[in-house]
Amino acid sequence: MLDEALVGDVLRRARQGGADFAELYVERWRRRALRVLSGEVKEATSGLEYGAGLRLFYGTEVVYAYTNDLSPQGLLEVAETLVQLKGQAGQVDALGRGGLDFRKAVAQGLHAPQVPFTAKDKRYRLERLREAEAGASVGPQIKQVQTNLMEWEQEVLVATSEGTWAEDRRVRTRLYVTAIAQDENGMQTGVMGPGLSVGLELFDRYPPAEVGRRAGLQALTNLRAKPAPAGTMPVVIGNGFGGVIFHEALGHLLETTSVAKKASVLSDKLGEKVASDCVTYIDDGTTPHGWGSQEFDDEGRPTERTVLIENGVLKSYMVDRLGSLLTGYRPTGSGRRQDYTFAPTSRMRNTFIAPGTTPKEKLFEGIEYGLYAADMGGGQVRPGSGEYNFAVKEGYIIRRGRIEEPVRGAMLVGKGPESIQKIVAVSDDLEMGPGMCGSLSGSLPVEVGQPHLLISEIVVGGQA
């Protein structure tokens, strides 16, 4: 995206105030969004974003600047300002170690789209959304259906004064259907939102009518659901997006951003038993076409499959460059940022609990009375204590081993590190679900996932 000589000049200039390390991040995005409500286009927008971020390290002190004036003058000015702002803080090294002999790494196209965005026109997309809407109309109680399509194409270049030069191209597509059902007792929603690192073949992998139908059925289930009971009870959490609980209550505690500051209850626990034996927790940036996959992280390092917890024992954290400097742990290709306006931090990619051996049906056997949280919604976590609360989006009562009537409004409450000790059985039906994760370096696409699993006891906040 940028001329090699210019990149070299900017990095050299940036280090003249004595910085040990300089990194230039350049990106170009094309984004499109289409929103259809009751058959009518409510929003159709397109945008091209283009900018660069320059980050300097003085030991573990970091300064960051960004611009979308990518002319040679614009970029050199940014480097100049950063140097001025910081002052002559260290030894001036006019030559700059490295920085000129770039080792070029270009993406292999592991997640490249099969049906590029240019292959179809906007009418085609509108028709698919209308199919999803029709699919969601599963009964007269469905009063309103909203469908969204998001398309992202991102080109990235990361170059550093250590000679890193990585170019990546990331294409992502997501379909999102919200169905609203209403009867004399009230209004309930159902949602379904598949997304992958693919082009328009998303519609082949997830036929829109079926996506819509599942959103519609969820809305109807919630409409006939009764208020959830409250109390401590065994809970079976469904596969796929159910993994959001452990993303929030466990994953975030394993990022060096909090580990380095000792702000995580799981700091300094490598090699220790932190979960029950049946828990293996993995963060994988390489899953083919995963919503959170990319070939390089936003610091130019190849992504990898990082085993965080193996059979209950803590094996690794998620480590970015700054985290590695602060803790001494090896970087894991986990440096991510929303866009050029953010400096990267350690973040998750596709994070999941690995499949176990218990057949799904066996999880329910022996539960006298409990909750089946088939699908999860949003929640909150405090990383310092691991305390979390999550809303159950689709829940059922388990009685004498059987899944019975639906309940709504259930809230799961607990502490992440305690809850992972209480996972007593993990099934073999791993599924992943896409989401957007918000943290210090912005909002990022990630997958969360797990097989069905049984937690021996968890506090359920309900109404009844």
Partner: protein, 438 residues
Amino acid sequence: MTFEEARDYLLQKARALGLEAEVLATHTRELTIQAHGGKVEEITQAAQGGVGVRVVVEGKTGYAYTEERTPAALDWVLQEAHENALLQSETGGFLPAGGTLGQHDLLGEGLSAPLEQKRQAALSLEASLRADPRVRQVQMTRYSENETQATLGSTQGVSGAFRNGYALLLTSAVMGEGSSLKQGYEFDLAKEFHALEPGRTAQQFLHHTGRLLGARPLKTGRYKAYFEPKAFAQLLGMMGWFLLSAKNVLEGKSLLAGRVGQKIASEIFTLVDDPTLPDGLASRPFDAEGTAARRTVFIEKGILRTFAHNSETARKMGVENTGHAARSYKGVLGIAPSNLFVEPGAGVQMDSGIVVTDLMGLHAGANPISGEFSLQALGLKVEGGEVAYPVENFTVAGNFLELLTRITALGSELEWNPMMGIVGSPMVEVAELSFAGA
């Protein structure tokens, strides 16, 4: 390509394609210096800008934007906006006609101080706070400045540009006395760096937050309320503006729909928006569609005179456009105030009641559609015409429209607040409101 060149390129291409188009380009430069523990902890320097296009084809409106200013990127934007327009079902879109609006500089050299002085401003604010033994922790101290250049043009003849900006000192800290702890924040905002005084901002913080130490519980009841300017400005910026936006009126969300010409507030209450104020932080020579700026009186002595309009809402409602169109280059056409303020009155004579000094949780606790609010507040108990003691752990609740009719006095001094837009207010006395506490 410069922003002006990009604008001209796009308009020329649009004309050649027979499209009606409007181009809005903005460019923002920001500098933030954050001090912590006597050192500069974080510096962010940012320059961000882009070009947003609105096109109208067969009465259908489409948008697209770009941050890259090459012919290829600009061609892409025009084509995308065109395609996006054709997908729309709604017709009746149009671009307003206009003329040459000129180049305006509302900022001048106000921010051109040396970096070192700006760094010192942040450090000295933090140091002044720490000098008071009651300050337990300074969480954040920041100097920041913002400079924005906006350029507008359309195939219907609109053309103009302006530049504006501000400098800001901001801090958040915890004060303690005995077992009483209070977290507060303070800011000072000006169009010139040299108008900021870190020592004054620190004194204001110590006064505003220090007076709340040793707060006692408040007994639940109905009290006369004295809203300090900061508290009332937040309520007005969120609830008042929502009710006045013609977009919300058209969408059936405003309680004020159909009430133009009627008395909706106390006869001492006059609400004005004035983009032409010489020192106004949100002043603008024209709005996002090129409608020339002028003063608008929304509420005059209690009577609702008009809603806030852009060309689209004005045409739909068959009334005059008030010039409140707003749009970022990434966004779609909306409505926003400039310098919105309550005209000061004759002054407030306190007898007994609660001084509401700050409101919290406005996004969750204030519902502009119903007008209801129930908000956690900080305040002071007034007895016999004097402040008796601070109070805490209470909420103040009511209906915003009802509150407007019960205003009994207004302070004589206007203070500006940047929390919810740029909103000015004097102290506002309200006959009686419901307070829930111990």
